[in-house]
Amino acid sequence: MNSATVAASNLSKSFGAKQVLHDMTFGISPGDVVGVLGKNGAGKTTLLELILGFTAPTSGAISVFGHDSHTLPGSIKARVGFVPQQDELLDQLSVADQLRVIASFYPGWDSELIARLCGEWGVNLLARIKSMSVGERQKLSILLAFGHKPDLLILDEPVASLDPIARRQFLEQLLAISSDAQRAIVFSSHIVSDIERLANRIWILKDGRLDWQGDLDSLKESIVRLHIRGGGSELPALIVPGVLTMRREGAFATAVVRDWTQESHEALENQASVQIDVEPLGLEEIFLELHR
């Protein structure tokens, strides 16, 4: 047995003839915060559902805390928390009743934490769920997934309807969770700046494949924009390793490359005696460049 929180190898998933996920291999360790990025339809939700064991892979294997994720025993399920894209709240209940219902499933429910967060986040315990706004419902769904202090917390676009202040409070709470007790968090969102703050690891999904996975720090060092200048009026022919996009204009060129290193910098400069300036890119730019 390894100590990995999640381990997946060669994971594929098809619905009928349509293959949604292709050959994914990844791991999640305690303390990791994984930010999942991808266009709509890239397979993010299906991937999260496979981790949760809601659906079985078509081929490949995935385990959570060492157990096959599709047949998790109750004791392991209790260590997982989930915030779905579409909430599963009971409209006819009040907030307090909904919290009570969920708390009753978990012996380790931290009612002190939840009471404190309800206060800080402005969640009214007496409100009827059916009269709540989408943002308020989202806050409550998040609280319901926090209360049993899961060792693995999975959030599928949890902040789409939260205002910037609520989003920041939510991020602070997630950071407190991840830095205090080596818990793992997997978090999909289109709000790239949130992922850039929260995540130490990034998965970029493209057409059902893991196009990039690794540390956010390494991603920013690996995918950069080059500004290339030649000596004469026309830039010499160049072979730019790992090039994603390139535009030439007379003696200049800009190119976005992946797998950039100091060695590739020197090799390229020596190749045709050009001068190269490296422009680092933010996560949003990187995401866009990987989709050009």
Binding site: E172, S178, S179, R197, N200, D217, E279, P280, G282, E284
Partner: protein, 126 residues
């Protein structure tokens, strides 16, 4: 204490590395000075704690910082206030290079750039 920009293309651990190195080199962070804990920095700046730990670990390996059991990290004592001039110059090198490249693109003369730097220097002193 740090100016950190998560949206920058420069990874956060690098931003911390550069700033600590500069502050130690200039004596702004004297030997024995304490650094904020990883958790405090993570929550205050709303950034992932691992990238901060990574910076601290690298600075410790460089001998710039010392880890103390159960206490905050401190600036290592063997760092005599100011490091040598060439080393400090080397640290500002990339910024100078960038400025010179930009000045040439703007077709400024050397004298004009030096004048602009001097003006900025004096304004900053006030």
């Amino acid at each position: 204490m740090f100016i950190l920009n998560p949206q920058s293309g420069i990874p956060i651990y690098r931003q911390i590395l550069d700033q600590v190195r500069r502050m130690v080199a200039s004596g702004q962070l004297p030997p024995g000075a304490t650094l904020p804990s990883v958790r405090d920095l993570a929550i205050r700046h709303t950034i992932n704690p691992m990238t901060i730990s990574r910076a601290y670990t690298m600075l410790e390996a460089e001998g710039l910082l010392e880890r103390n059991r159960g206490k905050p990290m401190t600036v290592a004592s063997q760092n005599r206030n100011h490091s040598q001039l060439p080393k400090r110059l080397q640290q500002i090198g990339p910024l100078v290079e960038q400025t010179v490249v930009a000045a040439k693109q703007l077709q400024l003369s050397e004298a004009e750039l030096v004048k602009a730097v001097r003006r900025e220097w004096e304004q900053n002193d006030e």
